[in-house]
Amino acid sequence: MKKEHFIRFNLCMILCMAFCLASVPAQAVLAGENSVPEGTGRTDETAVPDRGVTINVYNWGEYIANGTDGSPDVNEEFTRRTGIRVNYTTFDSNEALYSKLVGGGADYDVIIPSDYMVSKLIDEKMLAQLDFSNIPNYRYIDERFRDPDYDPGSRYSVPYTWGVVGLFYNTDYIEEEITSWSALWDDRYAGKILMFDNPRDSFAIAQFMLGQSVNTTDENDWAEAAALLKQQKPLVQAYVMDRIFDKMESSEAWIAPYYSGDAAILVENSDSIRFVVPEEGTNYFVDAMCIPVTSSHKAEAEAYINFLCDPEIAGANMNYVGYSTPESAAKAYMDEEMVESPVYYPDDEILERTEVFVNLPENTSKLVDQLWAEVKMGGPGESMVLVAIILGFLGVYIAILIYKRQKRKRELA
């Protein structure tokens, strides 16, 4: 009897734990649904009745104002105004988005990839042409973002955010003023240099230094860039993406390239960290909203894109996300410091030196992947060390076996 009690009690406690953990989010979700979004100026309007449609939106992580830190919950507001529900999910890289789309297991209505991925999806006929009569707010998008290289004619995408890649450095440890990408190859900063952990961004830096186009299809160009990166490898502390924030803040690293919007926070919060767009030129990137061709709710998806282009909503988003907006009208709703900062909105003469990524042809892509693997993991020469280590372990293992066998023989004799 006691044993049964014991077991039953333990099972109850485990179920309790599960329900405890589940009730926390449930309560908060219910609380969240009842709260009125701030800062949108429409507090007392009754919500539009539910249309019974749910669209699936796939966006970068932390890339939309979600109701925290005093920002409006953009998805809730959209549902309130149009009656369309939003199933909002996030991804971490363009390649992840691509593999999900190609796998066929996911049915998205709105996706927000980066420039080169948009160009790739257009080439592979995976995007639907947008019906701009459903997107009247497109008129707010600035001239310079229309008809970009990655989407000629702007038929498939609407820009959402943009930025440039620049160099961040810590003036406490680096006395001179940095003006060139070559600072990342400087021996004096060995072991304090960070680089991007993705092929296109890293190669782009080397290519700007060599004066190549970042979209070159010449194999020799890429090989040259790879050689430059391999030269740099012993000086690099780590290839990172989001870890740059922790490393720069704690002064573990002194110099690193990163996207302007993100790292502007570093500049604002630290007196010693400075941002510069090097003179050789840099990558200018745009994240754009598109609709996959498999979507079954195209009109509703266009309504969502239209909603995100509303200057008030775009301003609220950019306040939260921290990137730059392609709509000048949205700047009226944004934090003044952000709007006037040269980090977020570089001058035109800097923008002249920038280049945007487009999709590379397949064999070039494969070459880039291969070269990147070589840069990160070392070429054929370096695997000799690995072979030597494996042989060493094998030798030790065999020696132990022989020793044990001899010991057994001695004991039996």
Binding site: K2, K3, E4, H5, F6, I7, F9, N10, L11, M13, I14, M17, A18, C20, L21, A22, V24, P25, A28, V29, A31, G32, E33, N56, Y58, W60, G61, E62, Y63, N66, G67, T68, D69, D73, N75, E76, N87, Y88, T89, T90, F91, D92, S93, G103, G104, G105, A106, D107, Y108, M241, D242, F245, D246, E249, S250, D262, I265, E268, N269, S296
Partner: protein, 273 residues
């Protein structure tokens, strides 16, 4: 001298295991504008406030817990039935079944994930569905949790005296009742272990969920998708909350068990007097 050495060694091992969790908890109270996870800025509860305001992360958590509870329960039931079946097989069929059971454990998760995704996508197309989602997640999680449950229950079955079941029937118990009253309590520790393992594995799973989730978001996927921008200390806050809940429950269970063991001893003492 040796005892002090042993104590220091044990202390170091615990330090190694728990230091990351402690750092995680400490930095969930970090008051820092830049959401730093390494530079201490002062004490504040802002990340907890942000956590409870963030609808998306809480939805992801809800999904994860729901999937964990359902798939743990289902795989425990199925696994127990399977273990009982395997236990009564002859040697050769049992060997084959055990090899098949080991596949999901031995396979790299990415292989399992991709193959399940391909299977589900063709199944969805066949039955005219639109995309993967909660259903495919349940199926995938039950699949990879099953072997662990089977492997937890089988040893208990082997330890059990095989004649108990027959003895119960000899005493007049119908077979079903004999199972529930005699066999099940004997193997219950194994079942509970299997349940807990399945629950933990399901919460923790990233790779397989990533491929089979379709348009649903689970917590590990949400956290991973933050890596382009920045992993906010909201995650620290969430982990601290989960850790605290589990810790409190474990303490209650252990306290209760210790008390029961004490009260069990007393009656025997009285009897011997």
């Amino acid at each position: 001298m040796k005892k002090a050495g042993a104590r220091i060694y044990t202390f170091l091992i615990f330090l190694f295991l728990y230091a990351p969790i402690l750092v995680l908890i400490v930095f969930s109270f970090n008051d820092s504008e830049t959401a730093s996870r390494t530079v201490w800025g002062g004490f504040s509860l802002r990340w907890y406030r942000k956590l409870f305001e963030d609808r998306l992360i809480l939805e992801a958590l809800c999904n994860t817990l729901l999937i964990a509870v359902v798939s743990a329960a289902a795989s425990t039931v199925l696994g127990t039935m399977a273990a009982i079946g395997i236990n009564s097989m002859k040697r050769l069929p049992r060997r084959i079944m055990m090899n098949i059971t080991n596949f999901p454990m031995v396979n790299p998760e990415i292989v399992t994930g991709v193959s399940l995704m391909l299977l589900f996508v063709s199944a969805v197309r066949l039955f005219g569905g639109r995309s993967l989602g909660m259903g495919s997640l349940f199926a995938a999680h039950i699949t990879f949790c099953l072997p662990y449950v089977i492997l937890s229950v089988l040893p208990k079955l082997r330890q059990m005296d095989p004649n108990l079941y027959e003895a119960a029937q000899d005493l007049g118990c119908p077979p079903g009742k004999a199972f529930f009253k005699v066999v099940l309590p004997e193997i219950m520790p194994g079942i509970v272990t299997g349940l807990i393992m399945a629950f933990t594995l399901s919460i923790d799973d990233f790779v397989i969920s990533y491929f089979t989730s379709g348009t649903t978001q689970t917590l590990p996927i949400y956290i991973y998708s933050m890596t382009r921008k920045r992993i906010s200390p909201e995650i620290n806050a969430l982990s601290t909350v989960m850790f605290a809940v589990v810790m409190i429950l474990l303490i209650i269970i252990n306290a209760r068990n210790a008390k029961e063991r004490k009260t069990e001893k007393l009656p025997e003492y009285h009897e011997s007097m």
